[in-house]
């Protein structure tokens, strides 16, 4: 087990997540892509703690913050989805382009 292997997995998760977040049309599926990206961040934080700075707690803090980011992202994502769906039956990102310049 080396730092590089774990980080490569994290990079793959980030790559797959980005692909999903950019290619999916449904808002919920976009959020699942974002969650995968943060999953990669979690893993990278764990690897950084174990292989680089185990004496410092900072990498663990990063993981905790990443978990909170996921929770916040999901709550706000679903709240916005419900709000926009209630207002005009929209559940796809392509139909919510009002702010597209």
């Amino acid at each position: 087990m080396t730092l590089e292997i774990v980080l490569t997995v994290a990079a793959a998760l980030i790559g797959v997540g980005l692909f999903g977040a950019l290619s999916q049309q449904s808002i919920v599926m976009v959020m699942m892509g974002l969650e995968l990206v943060v999953n990669g961040v979690l893993l990278a934080g764990g690897a950084a703690w174990y292989f680089l700075t185990p004496a410092l707690p900072d990498a663990q803090m990063l993981i905790v913050v990443a978990l909170v980011v996921m929770a916040v992202e999901m709550v706000m994502g679903f709240a916005a989805t419900i709000a926009i769906y209630r207002a005009r039956q929209v559940d796809m990102v392509d139909m919510a382009e009002d702010l597209n310049g």
Binding site: A11, F19, S26, L42, L52, P54, D58, M61, A71, M76
Partner: protein, 187 residues
């Protein structure tokens, strides 16, 4: 050696399950593929001696994914995937971005001259985290707490379409709130 095999297997599983999210037709399967990806990542964190963080990841992500499943079923046109359809846009661009980011990161990961391990691992990683949350990094926790509180309020405000005037009447003089679900407490 055994740990190496386990970590690589879990890593492959995490990425494969993550990719499956965007491949399978059924929304339930997509959600639980994402959960499998999280659980595999939690298993890797377990191998990295981060027991608390790993278990909390599993705990939070399970509940989050089940709630996610409810929304997936609610908002997708084809929840069970019985009539396969694709709802994607700009696939080529997305593949380029995803693969590009992966390539750049991997190149960096394998070419950077990583520093040596700095310091020794503590006997108890959970205690290390707990002491820092209540000590040196308390400000982070305070900010996180306020952010979560703000999230709860703004999430509720966005998601509900009923306010106190709907519940207690225009003069706010209703004795009992007029709620669609009665609830369990005597009022």
């Amino acid at each position: 050696m055994l740990t190496d095999v386990a970590v690589v297997t879990l890593g492959v599983l995490a990425v494969a399950a993550g990719a499956a999210v965007f491949v399978v037709d059924s929304m339930a399967r997509a959600t639980f593929a994402l959960l499998a990806s999280f659980l595999a990542a939690a298993g890797m964190l377990l191998a990295l001696d981060l027991v608390y963080v790993a278990v909390v990841t599993a705990l939070m992500m399970t509940i989050e994914m089940v709630v996610m499943a409810v929304f997936m079923i609610m908002f997708m046109m084809n929840p069970a995937g019985l009539m396969p359809m694709t709802m994607v846009h700009n696939v080529r661009g997305s593949v380029v971005v995803g693969a590009g980011v992966f390539a750049v990161l991997t190149t960096g990961i394998w070419t950077i001259d990583w520093p040596e391990r700095d310091g020794r691992r503590p006997a108890d990683a959970t205690r290390q985290l707990g002491e820092t949350i209540m000590g040196g990094h308390m400000l982070v926790m305070l900010v996180v707490g306020i952010a979560l509180f703000a999230t709860i309020i703004s999430g509720t405000v966005l998601a509900t379409h009923r306010g106190r005037y709907d519940r207690f009447g225009p003069e706010l003089d209703g004795e009992r709130p007029d709620d669609p679900v009665p609830g369990g407490l005597p009022r």
